[in-house]
């Protein structure tokens, strides 16, 4: 019975993430539009877009290989598997111990690696420019994320997200955690191709990163990639939520009311994150490509400083 419930909870969370993800993207767009004094499309628009894309035919560029056709599914699967290990509203998921925070980062790395290859498979300059910039961003964002993992893991004494979330509820305020939070926000913006790193709404050659890589995708393939992008946004919000604001997470409780409250808290976190993201994106401009490394370098340095602080502190 316990196993079946746990399995259902795990499956439920995985499905919840997919169900919520387009809505989160829609909410961000809506909030951005409102902040720019536009009415903007409905929050449900991403769902409609997905439905329409699923119904359309796929236009495959000539000369692409099996890799191009398989990539969308692998990208989606890797992102989804990574998300399934992040506690959304309940900790102690059945499969959360199959991978820790480092494995989650690496799973997202798989998605990015495959996407970069798919972009190169088209044999166009667009694919190349996107892949080239993406690997540059990743080469700094990934180490920064590993350093954040170190900070969090050193405080919690574990890299398992469940343990981290439980420890963080009582961890209190720390300088290194604040550094980790700032670094994490920078990394999350970079990984989700948001302003100031990339503009999700652009189709201008000089500014594209993520959009350039997926330029040749269409129909159901594009739908999978869009969905994976939305899921990744939810993943990072959940990650920041469960590490830095683990309030309202269910820990070892089976009460229905507790679960409902936790779910409500999770939705509240998502909504707040969407509003903050929209405000950030409206208030700052996109950076030039070669200024991106500076910002990511700051994230990396913050991560290193936070880790050093903890290493030094261990002696006292």
């Amino acid at each position: 019975m316990g196993l079946i419930t746990a399995l259902l909870m795990q499956l439920g969370q995985m499905l919840l993430v997919i169900a919520v993800a387009p809505g989160v993207t829609g909410l961000v767009r809506k909030m951005k539009a409102r902040l720019q004094r536009r009415i903007g499309p409905s929050i449900l628009q991403p769902y409609r877009d997905l439905r329409r894309l699923f119904g359309k035919e796929v236009v495959l560029p000539q000369n692409t290989s099996w890799l191009f056709r398989m990539a969308p599914y692998v990208i989606f699967a890797a992102t989804w598997v990574a998300t399934s290990m992040v506690p959304t509203f309940e900790t102690g998921l059945l499969f959360s111990w199959s991978g820790d925070l480092i494995a989650i980062v690496a799973m997202l790395g798989v998605a990015r690696f495959v996407l970069a290859l798919a972009a190169l498979d088209t044999g166009t300059s667009f694919g190349g420019i996107g892949a080239s910039r993406e690997v540059m961003i990743a080469s700094l964002a990934e180490p920064a994320m590993i350093m954040i993992t170190f900070i969090v893991a050193l405080i919690a004494g574990s890299t398992q997200l469940t343990t981290i979330a439980v420890t963080m509820t009582t961890a209190g305020l720390r300088v290194s955690l604040a550094m980790a939070l700032v670094a994490m926000v920078i990394v999350a913006l970079a990984e989700n191709a948001r302003i100031p790193f990339d503009n999700p709404a652009t189709h201008l050659e000089l500014t594209m990163v993520h959009e350039a890589m997926v330029l040749e995708y269409s129909g159901r393939h594009l739908a999978m990639i869009e969905l994976a992008g939305s899921v990744r946004l939810v993943l990072y919000i959940s990650l920041i939520g469960c590490i830095f604001f683990p309030y309202g997470l269910v820990v070892n409780d089976t009460g229905l009311l507790v679960h409902a409250a936790a779910l409500a808290a999770y939705f509240a976190k998502l909504a707040v994150a969407c509003v903050l993201l929209a405000m950030l994106e409206t208030s700052i401009a996109k950076m030039r490509v070669f200024r991106i490394p500076n910002l990511l370098g700051i994230a990396l340095m913050l991560g290193l400083l936070g880790t050093l602080l903890l290493f030094v502190k261990a002696s006292m």
Binding site: E57, V81, A116, G123, S132, F150, G219, F311
Partner: protein
């Protein structure tokens, strides 16, 4: 023990046999099949020997008063397994690849001798046998590097390799001299019995880092590696990169962990520092390079850096008396050595098939091979994923262990180490991310996109032996990534032997997870990761194909309204790494660009030139070469003198030596 020696003798006999068969058409097949069978036998024997009690034998050959000591303990058995699995894969590959060799006589006698030499280095238990085999290993591999001696650059590669190899052996010779002490106790058990003073230990450490590090490719002693490894035929490159560097790591572990006795904490500094720097420098070099085999050679340097950093951690923990943490780091290092042997072999095999199919090894002239070489490209892709440390492959499992061990290091007692370890952590994290960029580039430019030359357009799939060797390596990469616990458990006897600690047994853990310290701290399950990934990908694909439109149309790609952009308009290897070159290369390699843009109306073509300089060559090796050159030309006057003057010199030298001896004694 005797079965091991019999196999090695059989390898040497095969080498002799090749001299007889050299003119026969079946020589290649015969020699490589012999090597394959013997290496397979040795692999099985050595895997079985890992858990067994150490066995020793003394043969009455070599120095008369010393004899030849051989000893196989857990550490030697682990490295024998690495050496011989790699050797078996290379022999299998060579069964097909070797047939394309124009002058097989330049390879065949040396190949079995090289395998035998590497085996003897690992089995030897006295300094004489060790150094003899070490030199045999260097020379036989040098001979194979020189196999294509008429090709441009090969002679220079061979020259630099020979210089660095002799220099390294010289350093090891001095190290063993210091270890043996004035009594001349050259057997390893006698060396272990007599402890070193801290000053001598420091000197031995420096010499070992030079000797073993230069063979392994530690920065700044790596200069020969990216020249020599690519110059050899590809199966030999795979052996040199995947296996011979591991023998060098064995030498480092054997001397520092075993022969030198109880470590002090500062012994870990060179390995940690140089390891971290080597990891990042190696992969940055690789990203600046467009020759496929040189990219692979530089990435070997990166992986050697990771292994050395893990060894440094292990040494620090051992000195601090934290046996289990030291065992974790040592396991990570050995596991990564094993993994690197697998994926680097597969990658060099892949480079060999590409060169065979197209005659090109510059990535800028390749592209689109995935359509023409479907099987080898799939194996190459798997190896790329593995070396980029992406789950569920084996590279991730071993790097994950290294990161877990860094998280234990705040418990180290020395403040200096605690400050250093996070910095090494950043370097390792950077190198892992850059490796992903490097191999997305290597695979993307070589195998994907549109063919950039006619040669790449007309490529055909390699023969079935070559392809099967690649697939075997790729599958082993995946298996070691899905079941890392199996490999980790096999490595524990070596950890118990060297650092007196061990990781918890992994095979009994539910669902085959791996747990480095305790389940509440961290666990990773490659099997579930792989299962989830495959399951969710197929499930999604199935659902999507059921509910959505299945229509597919092939069309030209979007050309922005400028049709006819040829394959040249694609991103190239150089342009793909341009952002990374601007971010990292400007600091490390003084990379800069010169743009010559003609004025409007001028019909000159515009030009963009890249400049990259290698700081280590410019500031370390070039000055040494200049000094040596100046000294030798100054001494040139001594060359053509009369015999009387030479006799005079002999007399003066003798007098000086005697005076020195009188004062010294």
């Amino acid at each position: 023990m005797s079965s091991f020696l019999a196999c090695v003798a059989a390898l040497l006999a095969t080498s002799g046999l090749s001299l007889i068969l050299i003119r026969r058409s079946f020589a290649t097949v015969t020699i490589y099949s012999f090597c394959l069978v013997i290496s397979l036998a040795l692999s099985v024997l050595s895997v079985l020997a890992i858990g067994a009690a150490p066995s020793t034998i003394v043969l009455p050959i070599g120095l008369p008063w010393l004899g030849a000591h051989f000893r196989i303990d857990a550490l030697a058995a682990v490295f024998l397994a690495i050496v011989n699995i790699g050797a078996a894969a290379a022999s299998l590959y060579a069964l097909g690849y070797g047939r394309h060799e124009h002058e097989p006589g330049r390879i065949l006698p040396f190949f079995p001798a090289f395998l035998a030499a590497m085996n003897i280095v690992v089995m030897a238990a006295d300094a004489y046998g060790f150094l003899f085999a070490w030199e045999l290993m260097s020379l036989s591999s040098w001979a194979m590097v020189m196999a294509h001696h008429r090709r441009e650059g090969t002679t220079r590669a061979g020259y630099v390799y020979l210089l660095m190899a002799s220099f390294g052996t010289f350093a090891l010779l001095l190290a063993f001299g210091l270890l043996a002490g004035p009594g001349g106790a050259f057997a390893f058990d006698a060396i272990q019995a007599h402890p070193l003073t801290p000053g001598l230990a420091g000197l031995v450490l420096v010499l070992v880092v030079i000797g073993a590090g230069s063979k392994a490719g530690l920065v700044p002693l790596h200069v020969w590696l990216p020249l020599a490894h690519p110059a050899a035929p590809s199966h030999v490159s795979a052996l040199m990169s995947g296996v011979m560097t591991k023998v060098a790591i064995y030498a480092f572990i054997r001397i520092t962990f075993d022969l030198m006795g109880t470590p002090a904490w500062w012994w870990s500094l060179p390995a940690l520092l140089l390891g971290g720097i080597t990891a990042v420098m190696g992969v940055l070099y690789a990203l600046m390079e467009s020759d496929l085999k040189r990219v692979l050679a530089y990435s070997t340097i990166e992986n050697i850096g990771i292994i050395f950093a893990a060894l440094g951690l292990s040494m620090a923990f051992k000195a601090a008396g934290m046996g289990d943490a030291a065992a974790l780091a040592l396991t990570a290092a050995l596991f990564h050595a094993f993994n690197h042997m697998l994926f680097k072999s597969a990658l060099f095999f892949g480079a060999g098939t590409v060169i065979e199919a197209t005659g090109e090894q510059d990535m800028e002239n390749l592209g689109g091979l995935i359509h023409r070489m479907p099987y080898s490209s799939a194996a190459f892709l798997a190896a790329c994923l593995a070396i980029a440390a992406l789950p569920p492959f084996n590279g991730f499992a071993s790097e994950w262990l290294v990161f877990q061990d860094i998280l234990v290091s705040p418990h180290l007692p020395q403040m200096g180490l605690r400050m250093l370890v996070p910095a090494v952590g950043v370097l390792l994290a950077l190198s892992a991310a850059l490796a992903a960029a490097c191999f997305a580039r290597a695979f993307g430019i070589t195998y994907l996109g549109r063919p950039r030359t006619a040669a790449a357009d007309n490529a055909v799939e390699a023969d079935r032996w070559s392809v099967s060797a690649m697939i075997v390596c790729a599958v082993l990469c995946l298996l070691a990534g899905i079941f890392p616990g199996v490999v980790i458990d096999r490595l524990q006897p070596a950890a118990v032997l060297l650092v007196a600690g061990q990781m918890p047994p992994q095979m009994h853990i539910a669902w085959l997870s791996i747990v480095p310290i305790s389940a509440s701290q961290s666990s990773y399950n490659g099997l579930l990761m792989f299962g989830f990934l495959v399951l969710s990908a197929t499930l999604t694909a199935g659902v999507i194909h059921r509910v959505s439109s299945r229509a597919v149309r092939h069309a030209p790609f979007w050309d922005c309204g400028y049709p006819g952009a040829g394959p040249v308009a694609q991103y190239s290897a150089a342009s793909l790494s341009q952002p990374i070159r601007r971010v990292f290369g400007t600091i490390v390699f003084y990379a800069h660009e010169e743009i010559d843009m003609p004025a409007p109306g001028d019909i000159r073509p515009a030009k963009l030139r890249r400049f990259i300089s290698d700081p280590i060559w410019d500031y370390l090796y070039a000055p040494i070469a200049r000094v040596v050159g100046a000294v030798t030309s100054a001494m040139n006057v001594l060359q053509f003198l009369t015999i009387r003057r030479y006799l005079g010199f002999v007399f003066i030298t003798l007098v000086v030596l005697l005076v020195v001896l009188t004062i010294w004694g």
